[in-house]
Subunit: 358 residues, 2 copies
Amino acid sequence: MSNIRVFGKVSERFIEELKNSSAAFILTIGTTDTSLIPGITVAGASPELTHYTPPADAEFLKLGKCLVIPFPPVTPDGKPTPALVSRACLLLLDIPSIIVDAGSRVKPLIPHVDLVGEPGKDIRTGTALSENGARRILENSKMFGKEIADTFDIIIIGESIPAGTTTAMAIMIALGYDAWGKVSSASPSNPVELKTNVVKEGLRRASLPRTDDPLVAVSRVGDPVHLAVAGIAAGALEEGSRVLLAGGTQMCACVAILKHLGLNLDPEMIEVGTTRWIIEDKTADMVGLLSQIWPDYALLVADYSMSNSRHPGLRAYDEGFVKEGVGMGGLLVTALVRGFSPDEILRKVEEEYERMIR
Amino acid sequence: MSNIRVFGKVSERFIEELKNSSAAFILTIGTTDTSLIPGITVAGASPELTHYTPPADAEFLKLGKCLVIPFPPVTPDGKPTPALVSRACLLLLDIPSIIVDAGSRVKPLIPHVDLVGEPGKDIRTGTALSENGARRILENSKMFGKEIADTFDIIIIGESIPAGTTTAMAIMIALGYDAWGKVSSASPSNPVELKTNVVKEGLRRASLPRTDDPLVAVSRVGDPVHLAVAGIAAGALEEGSRVLLAGGTQMCACVAILKHLGLNLDPEMIEVGTTRWIIEDKTADMVGLLSQIWPDYALLVADYSMSNSRHPGLRAYDEGFVKEGVGMGGLLVTALVRGFSPDEILRKVEEEYERMIR
């Protein structure tokens, strides 16, 4: 395949199905109060605004404009949300997209599936989710995953949760993996030390050296979104649909949850799709995380760049800003697999960007 | 067709599509505080419990058990919810069902689509919904209807809203139709005078002799559900899918809203499906309402009875209890059109009933 780099045990059958079968994109949104820690995330113009990023991403994805805030989500220095690229891919692909709220402080003002979850608390408390809340998120996300798999053969699952790389790191470490300093960031200067300290504090307060139970890991130091992504994937796989986990190092935490739920992770049925910006991030190690958690891992990387864009806001992606989110990598992979060229995609992204800044 | 009675301009093409095309059932739930008026509804064991009926109906439909209350919804004298019959039909039909919350005081604890609406206030206030709330329900229900129509060719839409016949009557009268004493009831003794007085009070407080604007009618004396059912239907029709409005006299209010939204109601694309218990209700006049609002109306009636059931709780349906709700009539019509015999359906209902009372 041109424009796709493959890592691990990528399956030809999976690619064939991704190309030809009926697909739907699920954007799983939620919040963790961990995002309010100054400096931990750039997924929002200020710490307080990070709670508006997931619903605003959802609205932007579906409508091309936001309702909960008057402008699309940006980093503090104005770099645009990856929802822009995801939206462009969805417009080209012409596949359905569904917003799923796993637990958000601010709800999107458009129709969305409510998993009756709860927002995550700051993981430094060691009690990120209530036990009941975590159990309900898992049950409802599996139920939703099964239902959606009745209708679609390929379920592409993305996420939007500011500070999600920090909670992902905590989940993986709680489940016994060495994820210290291996998760990526939407900023070119990954605040690795701050993340590490936050995760350490959370694990200490949770009295968690490690656990094999994903519900314990997530309810102590996790968040609603990684659990829901894993639950939707588990439900869809159970019904025989294929799953593309669309995201960066956070998806490694979803894989870890799936593994500890006891699922058989067959690369013919489930793979991960991300961007080159994640793979090229020297402050992270997605392949290392995947191979540690899932020896049979399969990773598809979209060889798509915006360094030739006429817009500095888009060229910033190639300077280490943003990198992933809102399913961008998996949707780029899907668009490339389905025959759209990087140039076609860039033109669509620029078109949407120009509409957005007008 | 055996076991289906037809009224008005029923289209053969519509029946053919109902039989063979991909269908989904949408249960639209919501509440109006009008249901708290003692004696106005039997859709709940007590006025306060009526607020639990819609989420409990949704849960029963999907799970065969309830989560928000420890038992399935019943009338004050113990007659079981029509969700029982709807669930049996869905099990036979094996089609997807989706719960849509248009505005409920109590949320179902299972995955559901949130239209970001609001619960209805007592219509005697003359301000049942906020203007913004009504506008959002209409916009979001249309958006959802369009999206679901991308995937399914037939959209069957039911409702669960206690006191819905009263708000339906108010909506139709506000839009200029003579609905006085023409709506049905889940009770064998329809509280016609009480309903009439409540509607009169609402219209007076709303300073509404009549209006042509469905958003004005609904926001003054309506509720979230009838508006959302109409919006979902409007969106689905706009995308070229067919719609079966599954319900009794309440669906006449949905037809009135659709008409006043300016939709062309072609019986080849939209019809109404209900039970014989509604048509045989001498305290109501569904055919009269339909022909008044929609001269080209098309109505399919399921010739299905439970008078031979071994369970008194089910035989009660033939004694004038319950009659409609949770899409029962439209789902019975669909099951009959798709070749299930009344006996097969009754056996499935009894099976579910026996499981339920154990």
